[in-house]
Symmetry: C2
Subunit: 367 residues, 2 copies
């Protein structure tokens, strides 16, 4: 008879209690205000552009000290105050009942309570407000993205979701990969023989890497980001890095979007400046660099107008002001051509795993 709770279950309960306590405190403050004849209100860290600053030490965007009020006293704020109070109530309910939701679902669920959102962008915005107030990602209060990316490798996890508590799974058992959904996001990372995490942008290449046993040859956990990594995937990468001490390297298409996929995994986005748990500051962008295009004689595609426009935009971003990030943008702009990860197949299906990957991993040691 198993009488004591496992470490995984305890950790999950602590994380859950933390968010519930935060929510409860806000609820208590509201009741106290009412008892004292005051209009209840929320103070929300301001997310206006002027309050988003790049923090060099944390190596990510953060919010400054400005904050905004949502007061029930102010007629123009009453609507958003009520929406926010409802969302806090609903988040509390989701966590306690062990249920999950999506952004879209929240928009409709509000209607069950006669809470009026004009459209989904309005409810999405209130969800970000609650994240900013709690400094907790929405996944912590059970609102998950629709998009799921996946993972494969020798990693034993222990579930903490209802009905699966204490059950373990090794993420090398299903060679098509494991979806990074609510259950995996909240699971305890128990044990691994891996020494490295490789995040890769495309499903086809992910499968190639599994087939070519990259997980064994390079002792790696492989993560398919399926394009721009969803937040739950960035959170998972951060956990692999922080909790297991595994270095994270990133492979994306050789274009401005690929470079930015790597940057967002590494240092987050301005949109999520109110959060701290979505970055991997020591992650390394392995490629495909603009300079790899000539070096590896890759077949290329001409850039579109919007590719070029995007380069000019990123050149204004403080994170692209120095080092390799800056250099590669300049070379992309000079070449005006881009190369996909699949381009290596010109030299054989396994060229990318046999030649490019080991060369880049060797190089990464000095990055």
């Amino acid at each position: 008879l198993k009488t004591s709770k496992s470490k995984a279950t305890k950790t999950a309960e602590l994380r859950k209690e933390k968010v519930l306590t935060l929510l409860q405190n806000h609820g208590l403050t509201m009741y106290n205000d009412l008892d004292q004849g005051k209009f209840p209100q929320f103070s929300i860290p301001s997310r206006s552009v002027s309050n988003i600053v790049y923090d060099k030490k944390l190596r990510q965007y953060i919010l400054g000290n400005a904050s905004a009020l949502r007061s029930s006293k102010n007629m123009s704020q009453l609507r958003s105050f009520t929406q926010l109070a409802w969302l806090a109530f609903f988040a509390n309910k989701l966590i306690r009942e062990g249920k999950t939701s999506t952004l879209r679902d929240i928009y409709y669920s509000s209607q069950a309570f006669a809470i009026d959102f004009e459209d989904q962008p309005e409810s999405d915005n209130i969800i970000v407000d609650l994240e900013a107030i709690l400094t907790s990602a929405r996944e912590e209060f059970h609102i998950f993205p629709e998009e799921r990316s996946s993972v494969f490798g020798d990693l034993t996890i222990e579930y903490t979701v209802p009905g699966y508590e204490g059950k373990r799974m090794n993420l090398s058992d299903h060679p098509d990969g494991y979806l990074i959904g609510p259950s995996l996001s909240s699971a305890e990372l128990v044990d691994t023989s891996a020494e490295l995490v490789i995040a890769i942008e495309k499903g086809g290449l992910f499968t190639r890497f599994v087939e070519e046993k990259v997980h064994k040859k390079f002792k790696a956990i492989i993560v398919d980001t399926a394009g721009q990594a969803p937040r739950s995937t960035r959170y998972f990468l951060r956990r692999l890095n922080g909790e297991l001490g595994l270095p994270v390297v990133i492979l994306a298409d050789g274009d401005v979007y690929g470079e930015h996929i790597a940057m967002v995994i590494k240092s987050g986005s301005a949109n999520a400046a109110h959060l701290r748990e979505l970055t991997v500051p020591d992650a390394k962008w392995l490629g495909v660099w603009a300079t790899d295009i000539e070096k590896y004689k890759l077949p290329t595609i001409p850039m579109t107008e919007s590719d070029i426009k995007r380069i000019y935009e990123l050149q204004k971003d403080p994170r692209y002001q120095e080092g390799n990030w800056k250099t590669q943008l300049e070379v992309f702009l000079k070449l005006k051509r881009k190369a996909e990860l699949e381009a290596f197949s010109k030299y054989g299906l396994t060229n990318i795993t046999d030649k490019y990957l080991p060369e880049k991993l060797e190089l990464a040691k000095s990055l």
Copy 2:
């Protein structure tokens, strides 16, 4: 010591041998032609609109008897003849080496052999030619889509991919769901306690269904089609239906695209008229019907111009000429409004699983 091969491995080998034999026969014919001083050629079932007909008995689109030649004798056909011969060679190589590829990857891989494709649409088209010649889906010769949908439920499978032969997995062990990639597509379906397959359009709802234990309450295997079901998913649904004898029901958004998602799972698409293994003729579309919008008082969104245009298009499709398929298109056109699966959350998160699903399953018995 295990000396005899399992049934799963044998089935997989037979399937593999079948495709290899087909490829080999085409190769032999080509050599024989050369030996006899003849120009080798391929005869390809024509996929022109005039040769695509709806077969009422098979309940899907099929190709008529017209065929097209790709002869090495004809200068204008030499290019596509060579591309096709290369693809057959490359497919043979992929199967023998146990490797997989994607459409994009094939385009680049051709360059390793100095085979010239103008762009990916040209190589995609040659891949369909090979499918038509072999009457085999490209997955059979190891070309898989990038998109992956997922599955969850009490189903034990046995892998047949290299390195995993004979290993078994129960698809209820990972509550985020199992990706339907190359390994799952080629696995043997060993055992299930399920009596039903529910295909659902959206990841968020898939997770809701797992959380609400739909797999237990309704003895169901749940498949997330993630929008329009990728071909590998349609192929998997067909196998669940054909090999395990499980009825398949479909839930999609209440709009013209949702109705067509159900139709394509049931009877395929004109684009795949050259194939037989991508349909589930007895699959039932459970909803969301246009008539459900009023019946369940669902919150709606106005249709766009392109929604309405799409209805007019489908009204010309022979499959929408009668019964519920026809009726629902008409009601959509009358309402000019649509409702998403998430809309049920207006009546509580579990309204869709507690009320709508059982009512629709009951109704389905008489459909």
